[in-house]
Symmetry: C2
């Protein structure tokens, strides 16, 4: 928490990610203009849409293929996770740090409902949301906060300075579409309405459900999966990661996955020299 | 440690930073070519060098000015910190996690001398070092490992797959130049020999000493300093940050800097409903 919420280093890392997102989307939009400067959404039906592929994987995509869905001439959007991606949950984490209590689903629900004024925007997010909207991009949140708490989620985003979000249009929550925690269903639904130029998150599930398969962990290991060719190339090119060492699926690793056997060192001070 | 060394999320974040570094430097080089495709280093003396400003601040620069030093037609370089920037110190951190021992300068010195085969490259670093060298860029390490252990530091970098480093040319260590922990002196020395296109690190001291002034902390707060205009714009544009929640100056914040008073929340379960 000291790192993520208190350090200049984590703030710099978040600014860096939002700078990269803005530069990437600006580049995509500039390249999508035709010779008269019109964007795909501004051309008449029948003229060739020139958005690149979206950042959303097609259903059934694997890490090795990582095929993305095509974009027709839909309006451009960026799809972001909410917690520790758009906002920092300072209030909730303060309570958890102060009490030492473990995560509790009912407490988190009370937080969703009553904590809207106790969050702040992730460093860099306010400027990036403003700049991207000025480019004509719609910002869409895809969060696992509960659809029952949609109004409170929208209020938290507004209070953090990130603007207005409308449930079912620019705010997708758990309970929407297929009711699942996995976000692929909601991503595909969003992709029917928008050309999703970029995905932003702090958990790999914010990019594709293939990182969190049901049953045993991927044979290769989840960490190695992030580095295989087609996936590796997406980091910073359509997929943008923010730091979160406080909670999440990535913290579930044990000693063996964190410290490979052949990389373990034991200190051996010389006799009498310690 | 589970996050930095074990998670797919931290791996993705590191890959993202190295992808951004490579794309940025490639862009700078392409824009520096003249109409005949020659780089500043390839043009005869007297023709205009076209490297942009370097990524190194001029002596006396402040966060508000953040003025960088000009580049003459020197060969291009990227300057990187070593620990948790180029390599992950798995062996040392395993020992610290296993024993629960606090940091100890003598144990770290033993690690520097004997741990060369117990590090791995940061995800994305091996490919980025190779690609950048293929572009004609020299990779220079500026580390606070001891100059007395230069051979072991070079061996650790080589073992991690990052290539060859020569002390005093491509490997600068604590004890070199002015003997200080602050890296500005070494950065300026490196900038006499190379046009430093980018700086890479996990601590703000890897970019400029102004983040760690002697005496009291900056009035604005170190975290806020990372977000002021001229500094904010550098993240991902010449300055590239890697995640490190395990150690460092950034972890020195207390409750008040981590959780502002007006963002504290207290859980209040309804009577009998907990």
């Amino acid at each position: 928490m000291a790192y993520l919420y208190g350090s200049a280093e984590a703030a710099a890392l978040s600014e860096q990610t939002y700078n990269a997102l803005t530069a990437y989307v600006r580049g995509v939009i500039e390249r999508a203009r035709d010779r008269r400067g019109r964007l795909p959404t501004e051309r008449r039906a029948g003229t060739l849409p020139r958005w690149p592929q979206s950042a959303v994987l097609v259903p059934g995509a694997t890490a090795a293929s990582a095929e993305t869905s095509p974009c027709s001439a839909l309006p451009p959007a960026v799809v972001l996770d909410m917690d520790e991606t758009a906002v920092l949950n300072l209030g909730y984490e303060y309570d958890e740090a102060r009490t030492g209590a473990a995560y509790d689903v009912k407490r988190w629900d009370r937080w969703e409902r009553t904590g809207a004024d106790k969050v702040v925007a992730v460093p860099g997010a306010v400027a990036a949301f403003r700049q991207l909207r000025a480019l004509g991009v719609t910002m869409v949140i895809n969060s696992n906060r509960s659809a029952d708490n949609a109004a409170a989620a929208a209020k938290a985003l507004r209070t953090a300075g990130l603007g207005e979000f409308r449930h079912g249009d620019t705010l997708y929550l758990k309970g929407d579409v297929d009711g699942r925690s996995g976000k692929d269903g909601r991503r595909l639904e969003i992709a029917k309405h928008y050309c999703v130029l970029a995905l932003v998150g702090d958990q790999l599930g914010d990019f594709a459900d293939l990182f969190n398969p049901p049953g045993p962990a991927p044979a290769l290991g989840r960490r190695a999966l992030a580095g295989v060719g087609p996936i590796q190339a997406r980091w910073g090119q359509g997929w943008f990661v923010l730091p979160n060492p406080v909670y999440g699926t990535g913290l579930g690793t044990g000693w063996d996955e964190t410290f490979p056997q052949d990389k373990r060192w034991g200190d051996a001070p010389a006799e009498g020299a310690k």
